[in-house]
Amino acid sequence: MVSIRGLKKSYGTTQALKGVDFEVPKGQVVGFLGPNGAGKSTTMKILAGYVVADAGVATVGGVEVGPGSIEARRLIGYLPENNPLYEDMMVLELLRFVAEVRGVPKAQRKAKLERAVERCGLEKVLGKDIAQLSKGYRQRVGLAQAILHDPDLLILDEPTSGLDPNQIVEIRHLITELGKEKTVILSTHILSEVENTCQRVLIINDGRLVADGAPEALKRGEGTVTVVFASRLGPPLEQDKVRSMLEGVPGVSKVETADAEGGGTLGFALKYQLEDPRRGVFEAAVKNDLLLLEMRHQQVSLEDTFRKLTTV
């Protein structure tokens, strides 16, 4: 559905995108993560046909996007960042205007409009000026104009920003609902949103893609196991000996000294990359006659992955 190759974009001297490549197959819901200024919005603006890339190719449904790419734009529904809307128009007026410019055939216009209104729950505010709407309703109007023409691809730039928790849940439901039939690319700062709604996560940092995978895949595979040992038989524990024993446990990539509980106990933090070493730690403790007082497992959260990949 979407294919991006070597996308580059500079604003003056700032390089917003330094060569981004990815593809999104039809029907996938993709979460686009990254710190502010990483290039999320720029990528989405290019895809939506607003901004022109300096280099590289972006295609939507096989059609290259660009300033004259009317055909590609027909396939896209776009909710820009900050959701700009004509404040002086009534909700219904705006939706009618968008339907008309989108070239929705007259015969289908009413039905499509009603469907978008119903999906976004706008029945009660159709006659209101957009300027009077609450932020939640505004956002729904933004979504309604984006889905009005039944596009194959939805590009949503921070669809939940500035909403209260209830509104966030509503919008999230709507996105999940839409994701059943459409390809969705959404950007957000809220990591839990990605875990809940997206099948795939793209993390972008400093104009480059730094991670790409399912949310579980980005979380799994890495973590820390903290252990506290005590002597079982009496003789005090030797730090070096225990350390080298732990280093020998399969899966452990790094052993660090951690807090213990006093009274001759020893604490370690074991980092692992791929293999969960808990079983190995237990077996090693048994073999070496150590008393395992505590073992705590901490999986890397999406937040950790995000922080690790996006901080310099």
Binding site: I70, P84, E93
Partner: protein, 239 residues
């Protein structure tokens, strides 16, 4: 075509949903009415000449006022992103806005048509009233308005700030009005060239009731140049 008209319609409804249209129209009609009055009563002549004679000055001020918000406001509010990601060509956006502005000006001019009829009825023999110059004058006004609007639209595309749009538009329109007033200071050849660039000079020709292709061509070219420049400038907002 439909999309262009949809944009024009939206723009017109915005004009009339906000005070701008009414303020601009009222101000225009008050001043135009004043000019008309000066010609007829103190002058004691049943003529529209003072009205047509000063209309260019009026337009220098009013046309940029009509166009100033058309693109600047979209840029400032960010709605330009919404508009330019809809499946429309940039030139369709420009034409749509231009048509809306011309529509507003058309409404204003329509309100001045009664002046012509009053004048006609004031003449000694209303049946022999010479409608030629009146008709020519209105054609000239529409042509002049469209060239000023196109130039003003470009000014509006230049920045996010409506005031900047207005002032740049005003300066450009004034330039095209004033350029032939300088002609006497220059050698004949250059003077003629300056005269040809003057909106006022061509308007005088048409308002006399003489429709010359050169005059028409001038207005069409100026309008086209303004619209092309606007489209170009709009495209740079995509960078």
């Amino acid at each position: 075509m439909n999309t262009t008209l949809a944009i024009a319609r939206r723009e017109l409804s915005t004009f009339f949903n906000s005070p701008i249209a009414y303020i601009v129209l009222c101000a225009f009609l008050v001043v135009a009415g004043g000019l008309f009055f000066i010609g007829v009563f103190p002058g004691g002549q049943a003529t529209l000449r003072p009205f047509f004679g000063l209309a260019p000055v009026l337009f220098v001020f009013f046309m940029p006022a009509v166009t100033m918000r058309l693109l600047a406001e979209e840029k400032q509010r960010g709605t330009i992103e919404l508009l330019l990601t809809l499946p429309v060509e940039d030139w369709q956006v420009v034409i749509g806005k231009f048509v809306a502005a011309l529509g507003l000006v058309g409404v204003g001019l329509l309100f001045t048509v009664p002046y012509a009829f009053s004048i006609a009825s004031l003449t000694e023999q209303p049946s022999s009233f010479d409608w030629g110059p009146v008709f020519g004058g209105y054609v000239g006004l529409v042509l002049m308005a469209s060239s000023f609007l196109a130039v003003g639209l470009w000014a509006s595309a230049l920045s996010k700030n409506q005031i900047v749009g207005f002032i740049v538009g005003l300066l450009l329109c004034f330039g095209f009005y004033f350029v032939d007033k300088l002609a006497i200071f220059f050698p004949d050849a250059l003077g003629e060239a300056l005269q040809f660039l003057s909106v006022d000079y061509h308007f005088d020709n048409i308002a006399r009731g003489v429709l010359d292709t050169r005059d028409l061509l001038f207005y069409f070219s100026l309008t086209a140049i303004g619209l092309v420049l606007t489209t170009r400038t709009l495209a740079t907002s995509r960078r």
